[in-house]
Symmetry: D2
Subunit: 340 residues, 4 copies
């Protein structure tokens, strides 16, 4: 009953097979290989636009690299108070940007409150030399409460941000789960909604270690800078073909969405079952593969005693994460334990 994180899950076998297939003969280093080119072409098709992409091996790296080409060192990133970039990346954004500030904003269910965004834009003006001006709005999709911003919600935040001259970063460590839940197109959820850079994460949805930093046309002129930063940060893998191979297999035949749907379905099953138990109450809507539940103390104890793995979350709830390979039997065992 391991619901600790989707990063504890194994990789999908198709990706390892793809790595083995890519391991033939010599290939140019540092991303100049044929598989990398194929992934880029596939992403253009998928996102219905020209774009530029570099790969990384962790979501933290992808986010920090993206922010480093969007936010000057003396400027500021606006993000949710619970954002992964603020809470869980050991200051990587501050490091990669050379000391930019992250301004945490409040909002229910992990979503930035629109009026809080407006206040921040007013209080931190662009031309005040004494304070770092806001340069980037960062949204997580899924966010840290397991919720997905709807297309309309994305637009209502990116609109005023762009009007104030900010660029928009989307942390898509669980983008596949968000997309699968929302049912819109990748293009609609990103550049058509005002997103400049997407960090598309595969690791949490079945890859070994594969993330893509995607620059949409509005910021494609920063590609050379992004590559330089990638190199400088030690993230330009010498044998890049092995990251590319993972993404190649992940995107083929919509495997990524298949895996995301599987994880989402498991989360739904878990949520529906758990809330039947005495002392369990959903803390947030379940829009993807994460379930946040407020548990009574006795219920918490019962689950722990049964050997269930989950994290106590800072907001007082318990977080259960499902993955592409979470078995129904595991979920049912959890629910059975909950019912006592």
């Amino acid at each position: 009953m391991n619901f600790l994180s989707d990063t504890t899950a194994p990789a999908h076998p198709a990706l390892i097979e793809a790595i083995a297939r890519a391991n033939v003969g010599f290939a140019p280093s540092y991303g100049a290989d044929a598989v990398s080119a194929r992934v880029e072409a596939r992403l253009k098709e998928l996102f219905e636009t020209d774009l530029k992409v570099v790969f990384a091996v962790s979501g933290t790296a992808a986010n920090a690299l993206a922010l480093s080409v969007l936010c000057p060192s003396d400027a500021m990133v606006l993000c949710h108070d619970e954002a992964h970039i603020h809470r869980d990346e050991r200051g990587a954004p501050e490091f990669f940007t050379g000391g930019a500030k992250l301004l945490p904003l409040p909002g229910a269910h992990g979503k930035i409150d629109r009026s809080a965004l407006g206040d921040a834009l007013n209080q931190w003006p662009a031309d005040f030399v004494h304070a770092p001006p806001p340069a980037v709005l960062s949204l997580s999709q899924l966010n840290e409460a397991g919720c997905a911003y709807t297309l309309e919600e994305v637009g209502r935040l990116t609109g005023p941000a762009r009007a104030a001259g900010l660029r928009v970063h989307m942390d898509g460590a669980r983008f596949a789960s968000a997309l699968a839940g929302l049912g819109c197109s990748p293009a609609e959820l990103t550049w058509k909604s005002g997103v400049d850079v997407l960090c598309l994460g595969a690791t949490k949805t079945g890859a070994l270690a594969a993330e893509a930093v995607i620059l949409f046309p509005s910021v494609m002129d920063r590609f050379a800078r992004l590559q330089a930063r990638q190199k400088r940060a030690g993230h330009m893998a010498p044998k890049a073909r092995f990251i590319a191979a993972q993404l190649d297999a992940w995107l083929a035949d919509d495997l990524w969405l298949t895996l995301a749907r599987r994880a989402n379905t498991a989360a739904r099953r878990l949520a529906d079952g758990l809330v039947q138990a005495d002392g369990a109450q959903l803390a947030h809507p379940v829009d993807g593969n994460e379930v946040f539940v407020r548990l009574s103390a006795p219920l918490t104890q019962r689950l722990r005693d049964a050997g269930a793995g989950f994290y106590a979350w800072p907001d007082g709830s318990a977080r259960f994460v499902t993955s592409w390979c979470t078995a129904d039997a595991e979920i049912d065992a959890l629910i059975a334990a909950a019912r006592g």
Copy 2:
């Protein structure tokens, strides 16, 4: 006839098999898994000492992480003028250390000249507030001229450095090749010779993407700091078991030395054959899997015409790199082309 770099070579199949074997069930994230623990234990055995280790996916990352826990931001790293950390890492050491200076030192065959080291230690004293004091001596083994420092040569540099209070970093991107050539023990070539941190690279010797930053006892107290830096730089892989699995297979049954010896033997064959050709002269001793040759213009042209892949080096020579899978036939074809 690809002799561009050992990073263009494929990975050894045993490592991909090890990845597949590790891909079973759930495993703790971020390096807390069983395979990572096994690799650490194996390294202790191999280096005959207690030690601490973190993994990375590029030599640039490994070096920069190591230097970031050895060198304060207002201090200095002494290295060879041709050192990879100085010439080929896009300023990653400067980035990870927060702006430390790299002081390039001269020396034949890629080896730091001892008197140049002495001069540097004299000219940049430890207690002069107006200049960054030397804090680290960095040695590459193999170095950038394809040469290995002998045990005695290592000691003659680490001795005065340590006496002046410096720590010693070894860039071991091709450590296996150096070790195979020298025939000493891993312990002798590192901590017993005054090395505090070794960046042990597997990528160039048969891995997909696996480097180990090893802290020997003299600096093991910096491990928590190293982990924090690893996280902050986006190099703490969520599914670390897949890097560990590579190292596990690489170190098993001395596969790493077998692969290194294979590459070294190929380099020897290439060097011996090439120097028979008119207009070819060795630029440096061949101590590992790299061959630097001064080529006449006609010979260069002949090799290019024959489709040989190699790099023109800044010092005017041509660099040929062999790998664990370089075929004798490829080498012989090169030599045949050279003879015209």
Copy 3:
């Protein structure tokens, strides 16, 4: 009627005379002069303890230098949401620390709320590798609402902070005004209350440009590091005697407290008079030389029309700052204008 800021005020003539007196013959550079030594001795006497000190020419520099020796680059400073270091220093603390995070905490009247501090210490534990741990608590005295923490209030914050292993920084840009208001000793308000480093500002209380970063015994071992940072940031003045001369005159015969009391008295007069007017209401207690008043729109207009200089503050109030040379006549003119 200029109440914009105490930085728009002239310097006290005694300080310029001291500069002229120090301008005789040759003197050692970079702080090794006799006047600098005299100031250090005077500070030891004043604070009743051994200490170390470096000078700077702006409060921003002093704060950032202080924080740079207290907070590792991958850690965090806890401060009030309105703190000058967070709002008004263009990210200087982030820059000088190499990318540390500032975590803004709420609290009435510019004072950090004690339970908010407790929550932060709980939510950001010291040993969690994925997030920057809190390393410093920063208090402003006077704070940004013009209020002074009482001795008891200081202790109630520094207590739990120190218990959690944090160091304590005090931004004393208006320390003289706070001290004059509280009536305690410099020692009581600083190291005896758990403060490790005081940035003692003279510029806002009558100097041309003079700030002192004072390390108390608990952190005196960081002095060499502080000097290195001072040099590296371009704040080690070649002719340091001219900063020292200012502080020398400022501290002599308690001139600093005399000037602070004068500014405080002026603020009291201004506050007492202004609140008599229709549509004026104190926003915060007046503990020093700053008065924050909520003004009705008509009253604001009346004051602007009369030519009064003051700032609209982000919290909706109006800020009036007095200085050592604010004339009663100016205040009375303001009050008369307010009464219409």
Copy 4:
């Protein structure tokens, strides 16, 4: 007999008087005052061009601020191996640029060798992602050997640098002395010769603490960024009028050149006299207010015994610095001591 440094000299009284004159009534903070505006206007007249300027209180700060708007963090500054920015600023350029590399180049008499510059431009190409590309050429005028680049020499270095896309920084800590020696116009020695940014130092030529970072039209679009960096580094003085007042008096009636000529004449007298002594030989031409002499051991001892203050220089010579107020009697005493 103090010839240690021009930073040990007092300030010229006219500058202190100017400070006293500026100390009247309230004035806008942070450089928006009338005196600052007057200095800017005067500089435009003097340099015969539009320009932008910010002030700083040390040459280290001025240089680092200038470089921070010219050199990206992942790029490189080319400078002489003995350059102050490389040897004597504790890595301030690395700090302010966010980790740029300084590449030291050789050359006789402190002047960058033209072919060494050419080699560097060839070896570090602009489009090689693996290494920091050169972005800035930095020249010191006077340089660290006390020599001035002639107009032609400046042009022969800035020409190829600009052709390769670099910007040019001039460290003018002793610009007045260089200019006085060369007898050309300020414009000719700077922007007309390909210089983008001049750090004009007054401190070493009679000021208390005043340096000007001057952006010529080619880079004036970086002014907002420069101001932000100035603030972020704590170098935007709250009461800027007191720095401006110094520069105002310094530039009035060509006082700056008068003072520089006085120092240069003293240096000439010192050099001419000293080389008459047995065991003294000029190490470099004397182009300004610094004299480098190779002294025999007995002569060194004789001078030390006589109480002469001078520094042993890393190149084995002895450095004697004169200033605007060096008395002929002091020089003659030194010469007498030398003759024994």
